[in-house]
């Protein structure tokens, strides 16, 4: 049993914390969000310079070969500072490539990700799919030496800034069959691909992406398989564990901002933090933080070490359920305890509320994971 970070993890943590404190203030973030692209290439380059984009890339492809456990401090900082750059989407994309790509695909993509030259996104969710990962109606059929893709993807996070998409398609079977799903690497500039971009609830950029008669070569197929569902589950579980730790960072910020407010806001001549009812609610928020952090830690350790997918799914679902509950309670309570100030767009806390609301449902809401947890 050892909760201490390794020397390397300590260095990552220190560098991201330093970066955030100096270069990613809430004002900076506000400007980034308002910018044309909705993310900052400078910030992305800085993250690359700090080596953070290489952490999760295998060493053979210019990375550091780290696991989820090595990314916790980065995710926590992302949550705390509400970083909007496409870190998680790119980590997901590169994990797809690293786990199932050909040598050629890995060589062409992973070093570029590690050095910050390439951002990725996972184009998967579809209209009406809710959180069912097997719901894939976008079809690919063999045409000539390659494939032709047709279908629509919805709310692809960071889709507008991704140069390359990992796209799930149905190669065989019915719309929600477990079998028959494949993955393709598709550049966003291929003819037939069109995007409709939006800002999400938590001010990320997303896109609905439409594939109309899109021709891709045979080597665009990732993993050469029609049984990609287990890979998708693996990558989504991995990302779920990471986003749990992002929530931990956001909750830590929400708690510390609320505690500050309770200590400084005076009414009736005393700080409102002297009122016992508010004290007890603040205490419950702290307990939520500790419990969420424990489950996020467990989930990250599990996706790194667990080889049995059933056990992995069980723990990841448990973590997501607990973290979603904490997101909901802490976000709602932090706004309530801030009073009117919490409602204001000007205060960071309202944006943390929005991000926590999003995380609670990202990769499946509590009900979805309760169902999965009960079934395992």
């Amino acid at each position: 049993m050892n909760f201490d970070p390794s020397e390397e993890q300590r260095l990552f943590a220190a560098s991201i914390e330093r970066f955030v404190a100096r270069d990613y203030t809430f004002e900076t973030r506000r400007r980034v969000v308002a910018s044309h692209d909705g993310y900052s290439r400078d910030v992305w380059a800085a993250l690359a310079d700090l080596g953070l984009l290489a952490v999760a890339i295998p060493t053979e492809y210019g990375g550091l070969g780290g696991g989820a456990g090595d990314l916790t401090s980065v995710m926590e900082a992302i949550g705390e500072a509400l970083i909007v750059e496409p870190f998680l989407a790119t980590v997901m994309g590169s994990r797809f490539v690293a786990r199932t790509g050909t040598l050629e695909q890995k060589n062409s993509l992973l070093p570029a990700v590690a050095s910050g030259k390439l951002t990725l996104a996972f184009a998967h969710s579809e209209q009406g799919a809710r959180y069912d990962l097997a719901h894939v109606t976008t079809r690919a059929r063999k045409t000539g030496a390659g494939f032709t893709i047709d279908g629509d993807k919805r709310v692809v996070l960071h889709g507008p800034c991704a140069r390359t998409l990992v796209v799930s398609v149905r190669l065989a079977g019915d719309d929600t069959d477990q079998e028959g799903i494949g993955l393709f690497l598709v550049s966003t500039d291929v003819p037939g691909v069109s995007l409709a971009a939006s800002r999400t609830l938590d001010e990320l950029r997303a896109a609905d992406i439409f594939f109309a008669d899109v021709h891709v070569p045979a080597n665009a197929l990732l993993g050469e398989t029609t049984c990609a569902l287990s890979t998708i589950e693996d990558v989504v579980d991995y990302a779920t564990a990471l986003v749990c730790f992002e929530a931990v960072g956001a909750i830590r910020f929400a708690n510390s901002a609320t505690l500050d407010y309770l200590k400084t806001r005076k009414q009736f001549g005393v700080p409102i933090g002297s009122f016992q009812a508010l004290q007890h609610r603040m205490v419950d928020m702290v307990i939520e933080y500790e419990q969420a952090k424990s489950m996020a830690s467990l989930a990250c350790a599990t996706v790194d070490a667990e080889t049995d997918p059933v056990r992995r799914k069980r723990i990841v679902s448990a973590a997501k359920i607990r973290v979603a509950d904490a997101c909901r309670r802490v976000s709602q309570e932090s706004i309530q305890l801030h009073g009117g100030m919490g409602m204001s767009d000007e205060l960071k806390i309202s944006h943390t509320f929005r991000r926590l609301t999003m995380i609670a449902q990202q990769f499946g809401d509590a009900d979805h994971h309760l169902e999965r947890f009960a079934s395992l």
Binding site: V155, A196, S198, R199, T200, R205, I335, S344, D365
Partner: protein, 393 residues
């Protein structure tokens, strides 16, 4: 015990509902149902229709346009409007300034201000909260110094709903900074929003909407005749207004409409190839809200019955506010949850013409409704009121 409306009450409800069916403009109703932003013009249009019918100010004295309805009729009317999807009436003139004028205003003040309020020619806003005075309202620091027949007002108000389109503001200001009890140095002024020295700055809420404002007063001159009640009696006026609560704080009618909408919506969404409403996990959350609302509608009627029996409204109003807002928030949360990932988009980026604005309104609405447990006396303050006044703690 008879929990149903009487024959007369039912007839009245039917009359109101039928009139609403015929006179509530479809476009306004649609905007309300789709959670779209209502402009001043929208609000004014509906206000005028009601004013023409004579139903815009039921609680006013009949000579000024009131309807002489009893509390139950007023409740039925409010709930019917909410259920039908009518736009809200801006309450600051009709339900806040006017009762103060009836109670404390001079004849001249009544004649000058009431008619424009009734007709919807003048919209009002409320200058109460300040950056350092929220729940602790009596700590306010905006000053009004008398110079002859004018007050000169300096200071700042915050969270001022509708200030960006209001014509007038009623304000609590400090006229005697040296008063021993801080409550004693406060006066109640009516101020024309076009007076030089007033600056309105938008405060954007977390849903991105402009509802509330900061209002700055920089040497703003206000004629002494615009003071209501005596100098230093502002706190008496404020307390009167606080006690003059409406019984529709629970917003039963609106929530009933939202609940029906949620059920319909959840029937159309699918989970595991079945309607979401048949999923026991989602369904139980919906059932709990439905039952809580069912209970609150009876609770509200029970309290109304006591009022009709002559009792003054007490801490019950606080309970209706607490439960009513909790239900409203739960409904917005379930609606967002029912939409699932489709609720993630918030606003289109330029050029996106395939954007589903209704789905995208659900998360902002959830965000926006967090205000309901904060405004109009936070639910914590309401619990304090019940503890003190109803329980003697």
């Amino acid at each position: 015990m008879d929990l149903n409306y009487s024959v007369e009450e039912r007839a009245f409800r039917d009359e109101v509902s039928e009139w609403l069916r015929d006179h509530l403009p479809a476009d306004l109703r649609q905007k309300v149902l789709e959670y779209r932003h209502l402009t001043r013009d929208d609000l004014q249009r509906w206000h005028s229709i009601l004013a023409q019918k004579g139903w815009v100010a039921p609680s006013w004295p009949q000579q000024w346009g009131g309807t002489d309805w009893n509390v139950v009729q007023r409740y039925i009317f409010d709930e019917a409007c909410g259920y039908a999807g009518a736009p809200p009436l801006v309450p600051f003139g009709l339900l806040m300034c006017a009762p103060v004028l009836f109670k404390f205003g001079t004849q001249a003040q009544k004649e000058r201000f009431l008619r424009p309020i009734y007709c919807g020619d003048a919209f009002w806003c409320q200058g109460y909260s300040e950056p350092g005075a929220g729940s602790d309202l009596a700590s306010l620091r905006t000053t009004a110094v008398r110079h002859g027949d004018r007050y000169v007002v300096n200071g700042q108000k915050i969270w001022t709903t509708a200030a960006h389109f209001a014509d007038w503001i009623f304000c609590l200001v400090r006229t005697s900074p040296a008063a021993e009890r801080k409550q004693d140095g406060i006066s109640f002024l009516l101020i024309d929003m076009r007076t030089p020295g007033i600056t309105v700055r938008p405060l954007i809420l977390m849903d991105g909407e402009h509802e509330v404002n900061e209002v700055f007063f920089d040497d703003v001159e206000v004629p002494v005749e615009n003071r209501v009640h005596d100098e230093g009696k502002g706190w008496t006026v404020a307390k009167y207004l606080l006690g003059h609560e409406r019984m529709n704080t629970a917003r039963i009618g609106t929530s009933q409409r939202e609940l029906e909408h949620l059920k319909e919506f959840a029937s159309m969404q699918r989970k595991n190839a079945k309607p979401l409403i048949d999923d026991p996990r989602f369904r139980d959350k919906l059932s709990h809200v439905e039952i809580e609302l069912m209970a609150l509608s009876i609770t509200n009627l029970r309290f109304l019955d006591q009022l009709r029996g002559g009792r003054a409204p007490g801490a019950e109003v606080s309970m209706l506010k607490i439960k009513g807002t909790e239900i409203q928030q739960a409904l917005t949360e379930l609606m967002m949850e029912a939409a699932g990932p489709a609720a993630q988009p918030f606003a289109p980026v330029a050029g996106n013409d395939r954007f589903d604005r209704f789905m995208a309104s659900l998360a902002p609405r959830y965000c926006n409704y967090r205000k309901t447990t904060i405004y109009a006396g936070s639910n914590e303050i309401q619990r304090n009121i019940i503890a003190k006044h109803a329980l003697g703690l």
